[in-house]
Symmetry: C2
Subunit: 188 residues, 2 copies
DNA sequence: CAGTTTTTTCAGAACAGACTGAAAATTGGT
DNA sequence: ACCAATTTTCAGTCTGTTCTGAAAAAACTG
């Protein structure tokens, strides 16, 4: 009987590899400001490729019902996990998008809307009104506005690049992959 | 005497705008997993465009000496802040890179090395050894390897894209800006 | 409609990581 | 070599987040 309590190391090589991936994904997320559990649930659903209900998720990741519930809600809102109802089973089943490019696009789109767009607005409000009357605008003020301006320009340029990646057409399309590969080959 | 204690709101429109920028940068950083102080010190040096010593930084941002010292060390290591010694003054003076594209390139390069490269190694170790003997590899195992494999491929593709952005030639070069703008125009 | 199962919510516990402050180390001057 | 100015270090405190657990709500069943 080579195991003492709960979470173990080698039930099978497959489960073992899955656990490595889940742990890895969780660590990554932490360091990028995303809650660990969020990434772990997603990772579990992604690697297994199967649907799981809340209890299975709670059991495998050893997390509380509340945590699982809240996090699943968010994951579904973000659009990278789907909730499905099964006939004759009261519980909800969850599964993760299997196309990694769609996954990436979804996350990028979300972050863009939630962070980049508001950032641009806020940045613009850091400029100072320049030259109202003739000789008005001081050197210090215009230097300030140039700095903020170049910052804005850069963020806008990256924003345009990301829009290009996400494609002009709404949500769908896996053209993203080929686009990234093309971009990697553009000659300077 | 319209002010009570320490940090105030409107000493001058310029300082006011600077403070907005500093605060904004700090918030951004927090939400991306970078310590607030790190971003605030950098923001202060960037918007002011001037050199400052540790005491000036401590005073303006209302942070401790220890925090300032440690954070400045890190910023200098990252290469986005420079430390300079002035004749006849024992204190060190710090200033921030003013070229926003260089700034971005530096940060991107650092994160790439510190996170992407190790991530790829770790990801590879999440695959399972496949088909040793004839009929060996099970469906589950090969499905697993395909999922991990597609993940790896995507990260590699993005890695190549970032390398392209950073330019084949070492640190320097502000070709990055024009490259980003070009990429934004590539036709699918 | 009462009972049962599943999900949601949220106040507080537990935790992680940032920040402080004072002591130790370093640097420069005389 | 000594003293003064400055920087660095780090143990402990503090702050903000995430997670738990149990109670409330909702959803379904017979």
């Amino acid at each position: 009987m080579p195991q003492s309590s709960a979470a173990n190391s080698s039930p099978s090589p497959l489960v073992d590899a899955q656990d490595r991936f889940i742990g890895l994904w969780g660590d990554m997320a932490s360091s990028w400001g995303v809650p660990r559990t969020m990434a772990e649930i997603h990772a579990m659903l992604f690697v297994s490729g199967e649907e799981s209900n809340t209890d299975e998720i709670m059991a495998r990741l050893e997390i509380s019902r509340g945590n699982a519930s809240m996090t699943l809600r968010t994951l579904v809102e973000w659009g990278i996990v789907a909730r499905r109802h099964r006939r004759g089973d009261r519980r909800d089943y969850f599964s993760a998008e299997q196309d990694v490019w769609k996954l990436f696009a979804t996350v990028l789109r979300a972050r863009k809307r939630r962070e980049i767009d508001p950032l641009l607005d806020a940045l613009r409000s850091c400029s100072l009104p320049s030259g109202q009357s003739p000789n008005a605008t001081s050197d210090a003020t215009s230097a300030h506005n140039e700095r903020i301006g170049s910052m804005i320009e850069m963020v806008e340029a990256l924003d345009v690049l990301s829009e290009r990646l996400l494609g002009p057409t709404g949500p769908g399309s896996d053209r993203m992959e080929s686009l990234v590969r093309e971009l990697s080959e553009v000659e300077p």
